[in-house]
């Protein structure tokens, strides 16, 4: 029997295919409502998935690499992902909630307490998908720096490589600061000692005194250490610089292999507890129906849909075969990107999940109450404790 694998679903708009909003089951006019996101996350929870991720960006969606477009036929506009996750947290109980938050223009102090608070309101189910923004137009929303326009066609130019290295170096410092802030309160810092009148033992609060090239942060956090100690840090990576970032900073990486051999090579570059492969999925009762579904959407969009991740079209049983095959290459799980919502999400929870359970490859009920627990990760010791690992 194989090791159980882990499954996450990446929630985005009405699904990852840009024409998915036009399908009968799509709910494009509800994308800005709490009900929409709650329904999706509850469906994922009914399927005992490990977690959902929620996409986000500090700019309007665009189909151009170099800035905003003026298209009127694709979904535009979105809500802050951390706040969606938080809004859904009290209405769910077991599934992990992993919003995307950008590090490039934001404050590590704010993101640290936001994810810590998500961990409080979800009672230990918070994670974070760290996003680096190399988009020049997003920099223009902040007016604090200018970034070169990074054209996907010339990412190997020395200017582009240097800019990317810089962005990821900043992200590395950022995650370090966030992690130190999470640990800046020891778990038992609140003492409520009536005899001395002290609410906290201040010796158990720590200045993090981070002083780096991009920012300095003194600490401690204003938010006590969250329930998981360290909420789950995750990152999507497609190339050596982000692989190195994920290996050094994340607990879990999402990668985009084209096949099992490719997956094996990538996994070797990211020696951390979890490496998940991303897959866009079109699921149907027959392989032909799944292909037809994609073709119809491509026709509607007058463009053949492509993705940074591999695109799967087939039945839940075929997908189960593929996941188990790739798992053998060293992946610990998968983040599935439903091409159509809710259709492909429902096919995952009611088709793929039972199939994997029949093969003994997926849980039949939640075995832990925290996200780290579901991923087999222990609650880490505080880095500021005597004898703990110094970061």
């Amino acid at each position: 029997m194989p090791d159980p694998l882990h499954l996450a679903v990446a929630l985005e708009r009405t699904g990852w295919h840009p024409a998915s909003w036009r399908l009968p089951a799509a709910r494009p006019s509800e994308l800005l409502t709490a009900r929409y996101w709650t329904d999706l996350v509850r469906e994922a929870e009914a399927g005992t998935l490990d977690f959902v991720t929620i996409e986000d960006a500090l700019g309007l969606q665009t189909d151009r690499p170099d800035g905003p477009d003026e298209r009127t036929d694709h979904v535009r506009g979105r809500l802050d992902a951390v706040l969606i996750a938080s809004r859904v947290a009290p209405l769910t109980s077991r599934i992990g909630l992993v919003p995307t938050a950008t590090v490039t223009h934001t404050e590590p102090f704010h993101i640290s307490k936001a994810i810590a608070t998500l961990d409080y309101v979800s009672r230990g189910r918070a994670g974070w998908r760290v996003q680096v923004s190399g988009r020049a137009h997003e920099a223009g929303h902040f007016g604090r720096r200018t970034l070169p326009v990074l054209d996907p066609g010339s990412l190997n130019s020395s200017e582009a490589v240097s800019a990317i290295q810089d962005l990821f170096a900043e992200a590395t410092d950022y995650v370090e600061v966030v992690r130190r802030l999470w640990d800046s309160w020891e778990d038992d810092a609140e003492i409520r000692d009536a005899a001395t009148g002290r609410f906290i033992d201040r010796d158990k609060l720590h200045y993090i005194s981070f002083d780096g090239k991009y920012f300095s942060v003194k600490g401690p956090s204003i938010t006590p250490r969250p329930p998981q100690g360290q909420p789950l840090v995750t990152a999507l990576a497609h190339a050596p610089i982000p692989y190195a970032f994920a290996a050094g900073s994340a607990d879990l990486a999402y990668v985009t292999p084209g096949d099992a051999d490719h997956a094996r090579k990538i996994v070797a570059e990211i020696p951390i507890p979890h490496v998940f492969a991303d897959l866009v999925v079109f699921l149907a009762d027959t392989e032909q129906e799944a292909r037809d579904a994609k073709d119809r959407l491509d026709t509607l969009d007058r463009t053949v849909y492509t993705s940074d991740a591999a695109i799967f079209t087939g039945t839940p049983a075929q997908l189960a075969d593929l996941l188990l095959d790739w798992q053998a290459a060293g992946l610990t799980g998968f983040r599935l990107r439903p091409a159509r919502l809710p259709d492909d999400l429902v096919a995952i929870t009611r088709g793929l999940v039972p199939e994997l359970r029949r093969r003994g490859a997926f849980r039949s009920s939640y075995e832990a109450s925290t996200l780290r627990g579901l991923l087999g990760l222990s609650r880490p010791a505080n880095r500021f404790l005597e004898g703990a690992r110094v970061a």
Partner: protein
């Protein structure tokens, strides 16, 4: 019809008003405490729930201040979660305009307004101290004199972003394939002393158009800022004469901005102690004051005026005979109140002679001179006082600050609110779904 009263619930804060040592006191960080207070406020048909914020832990004498509650959640994140467990209650949060950027704050408030179906409010605060700045990328970059300029420009920029999407921008017509009415929606360009930004905003217009704007400044600049931009102003003037003076002063500034008297609500912060008889309420109030001001707290509060280490003094003994240190470096950092005593030497003399005349110890004196409860009495007398202050234009309502977390509002909700409702001065049901409905504010065009 008499004036209608507005009420808000302030989650107990990180100062000595909050009595964490009370046997009833619960967690200040677990989500259940926030749920409990918010649901009590909603059960009582309050206008909104309010969260304060401070972005650096307070220090005194170079050490983290440990006598009061320490630790709070992230404002946006906890309010978004509260939107899931309430249906009508406004959700107001303090967000700093110095250590944030307009694009990010605007998208967070617009998101909160969507996720709460129109219940978001923003208490705009400014700070400029380098002490708080040590936690942020830019550090303490702002001169004190620039703080309202920054806040005004921040708010103006955020408004442009909120207004960048017309209400009917999203069509989402599956048949025709038209999602957006206009492909350039959300466009903005803003240049001033503090901000030089341009691009596309990414959150479509929210149910309230813009969040309700709250403001708490008391200086002339703060009042002018409120008159120009705010929908409600917090004040610390909860008595009849002081309240009326403040109320008139703020309301008279409105016409200059083309605004009506009703478009800005004056909401003083207020504490309360209830009893079955007036005497019992007074006794309970005295007990609470002693809980709020322990001997250790009395010394620390005295240090804030004296600006000296007074740890060697006995809280049950007389006041120090030495004068306050009036040098610039202040012993307490990270709290707004330390700048309120403009002439510490004179205040210290006043306190000393009062203590000598009335035979007060340090602790007695601090209890006498600081933050006595606003309303002390039976539910009937407290309801009458609140109503009188509102009907006589000392306020439009109150922000109630319970001293115990999270159950400190229960008794008020159960006993005082029904009396206000009987008088016909407080709603028995919400008249609409949004916070603008509760406050009687117009929807922005």
């Amino acid at each position: 019809m008499p004036k209608q009263i507005h009420l808000a619930a302030h989650f107990p804060g990180v100062n000595n008003t909050t009595v964490w040592s009370d046997p009833q006191a619960g967690s200040h960080i677990e989500f259940d405490s926030f749920v409990k207070l918010a649901q009590t406020a909603e059960r009582a048909k309050f206008d909104f729930f309010f969260l304060a914020e401070g972005l650096r832990l307070r220090e005194q004498g170079g050490q983290i201040y440990d006598l009061d509650v320490v630790g709070r959640p992230d404002t946006f994140t906890v309010l978004a979660a509260l939107a899931a467990v309430t249906t009508h209650l406004g959700l107001a949060g303090t967000i700093n305009s110095t250590f944030n950027e307009p694009y990010e704050v605007a998208r967070q408030f617009a998101s909160l307004d969507h996720l709460s179906d129109g219940r978001a409010a923003w208490n705009v605060v400014t700070s400029w101290d380098a002490f708080t700045g040590e936690n942020f990328r830019r550090g303490g970059f702002l001169a004190e004199a620039d703080r309202y300029t920054r806040a005004t420009q921040f708010l103006a920029t955020a408004r442009e972003l909120f207004d960048s999407w017309p209400a009917d921008a999203v069509v989402a017509d599956k048949d025709s394939g038209v999602f957006l009415r206009d492909g350039s929606v959300g466009g903005f360009r803003h240049t001033d002393q503090h901000f030089d930004i341009a691009g596309r905003f990414n959150v479509p217009r929210s149910p309230q158009g813009r969040p309700v704007i709250l403001q708490a400044g008391d200086s002339d600049g703060g009042r002018e800022f409120a008159a120009a931009t705010a929908d409600a102003i917090f004040s610390r003037h909860g008595t009849l004469v002081e309240g009326q003076k403040f109320y008139q002063d703020v309301k008279r500034r409105l016409p200059a901005y083309g605004r009506s008297r009703d478009s800005l609500k004056v909401l003083p912060a207020a504490t309360f102690v209830l009893g079955d008889t007036p005497a019992e309420a007074q006794e309970k109030a005295a007990v609470v004051r002693r809980q709020q001001v322990s001997g250790a707290t009395a010394i620390k509060l005295l240090e804030q005026l004296w600006n000296r280490d007074l740890s060697g003094y006995d809280p049950d003994g007389p006041l120090p005979s030495i004068d306050p240190d009036i040098s610039d470096a202040h012993i307490a950092r990270g709290r707004a109140s330390v700048r309120m005593n403009r002439d510490p030497v004179a205040v210290a003399r006043e306190w000393r002679s009062k203590a000598e005349a009335e035979k007060l110890s340090i602790r007695d004196l601090i209890i006498e001179t600081t933050n006595r409860q606003t309303f002390i009495g039976t539910p009937a007398t407290v309801a009458a006082s609140i109503n009188d202050l509102v009907q006589q234009d000392a306020a439009d309502g109150f922000i109630l600050v319970p001293h115990v977390t999270p159950g400190g509002l229960d008794e008020f909700a159960d006993t005082v609110v029904p009396l206000l409702q009987e008088r016909g001065v407080f709603r028995t049901e919400y008249s609409g779904p949004t916070l603008r409905d509760h406050l009687g504010l117009e929807f922005p065009a």
